[in-house]
Amino acid sequence: MNPRPVGTYSGIPRWVVAIAAVGALFVLLPLAAMAARVNWAKFIPLVTSEASLTALGLSLRTAAASTVLCVLFGVPLALVLARGGFPGQRLLRSFVLLPLVLPPVVGGIALLYTFGRQGLLGRSLEVAGIQIAFSTTAVVLAQTFVALPFLVVSLEGALRSAGSRYEAVAATLGARPTTVLRRVTVPLVLPGLASGAVLSFARSLGEFGATLTFAGSLQGVTRTLPLEIYLQRETDADAAVALSLVLVAVAVIVVGLSYRRPAAGTRSSAPEKRVSP
């Protein structure tokens, strides 16, 4: 969005540009191919069918809820990982980041054995009258599980690059740790927090495997847009393609919004983030 001023030296060899172009094509071409297969005449009725709208609505609501949970748990986690010094810190980080590399279905199974009826906590929860399996809560938990690392990684990076010197100064000025967090740390890393939250939202929106394994699939309760797409594919390929395009559009909008240049005044801590138009 802010192109490099004309005439400055970039120093990128041409062959790197060529390989980069192939890489970009590798990502963009399948999306274009899918868009080319959309049955545009039926597009509007397909994506505005009751099942589609219900699934989209559920996806947006659950992704928003899991983003809130990610922020709630991710901010303290990132702080502890970035600022704390305690034995097992590296181990904790590895485990928190594990869902990034874990197949989501494995996450689903793990959640099942934790919050399921026969699970570690599920049995106690059931006694307390709380049933998570097959509920929208289960969808939110599955999404939070896979999306949390995105927020933690992004925020921990922002915290590290911001450094702790501002916090030290704030403390010597008489600010309690909570005040430092609220008035200095969080505002300083706000761009990192925002992009982390958006990534979490986008990841939640796309969550499929863990949800399918852990939450099931029922219209309006647990069947999010990716599950709806998977099901529609069985009978109506046109509907699946149309809904996929909707999901891509939502993801592009969300990610595009977050990767805009951070507003002036917060530039110091934000790493350079740009996307070419």
Binding site: A175, V184, L190, S268
Partner: protein
Amino acid sequence: MTFTVDASVAARGFEVSLSLGPAETVAVLGPNGAGKSTLLAVIAGLLRPDTGRAQLDGKLLFDLQQGVQAGTWTAPHRRGTALLAQEALLFPHLSALENVAFGPRSAGVPKGEAREAARHWLAEVGAADLAARRPDELSGGQAQRVAVARALAANPQVLLLDEPMAALDIHAAPLLRRLLKRVLAGRRAIIVTHDVLDAYMLADRVIVMEQGRITEEGPTRALLRRPRSSFAAGLAGLNLVSGTVTSTGIRSAEGLEFAGLHDGPLGEGQAGVAAFPPSAVSVFLSEAHGSPRNSFKVTVTDLEPHGDQIRVRAGELSADVTPAASADLSLAPGLEVYFVVKAAAVAIYPA
């Protein structure tokens, strides 16, 4: 009503004991890595010493004993020790006014009152017109002035300044130095600096730190006039030779005899130093005679401009000569010359 600190950090070979009166400003001088910043961090509560004790106007900052697990430790925000660093470190998301109001706000002062106080302190540092600016709209000097206002607004019982002028350009530094001279008057402060001018202008007392320890300490003028450590002598711009007091002067460890004027009564055989300014040293190509003069053979190690003179360095000693004299003598590193100094210019005092 005093401030005392006594702390050691084994990992950094740091062991310092220091006390300050209620309105005393102390300058801490010393080479890089001497532990000056460690001292400030320990006082501010940003670094926990292994053992030690510090008390500020009756308030215990820390009391840590060897082998005792639970000592007393006051968190940084409860200490009343505002820190002003080399960089202004103004919070980038707050205006200058909000930056200065940060301390009062943190102390629980209502927003309006805190802003009022902030305006007062901004005016005090001559930055009233910068109130609405963001830190990235301020020059280095302006930012540092706002940072001074911010530190003062927190009403610290001891103000800690860590080379506040070091990052400023040569035009901004004098301005800030004048400002500090004004605002530090009547305040308790510790200023870490590289610049002897800061010590002259701002401090009542000077401490020299070397390798984690205080090696010299005293009123600024006395210390700079009669330095005992080579570091302080360097700051004061004096040649310093330490050795044993003799009836006429001093004998260095290498056996060189220096004739000089005894500064008060001195016993023969006690440890002493001889100090003399480079400007009192003349340079000759051959040995000069005539008493009472000190003359010794040295090898030139370096030549460098020093004001309108050329400073001739020969190991620890130096002499100032005019450029013309330097050219006449064809001075160059490696050349053997004789440094000659009148005994009347050499002060002998106890080490």
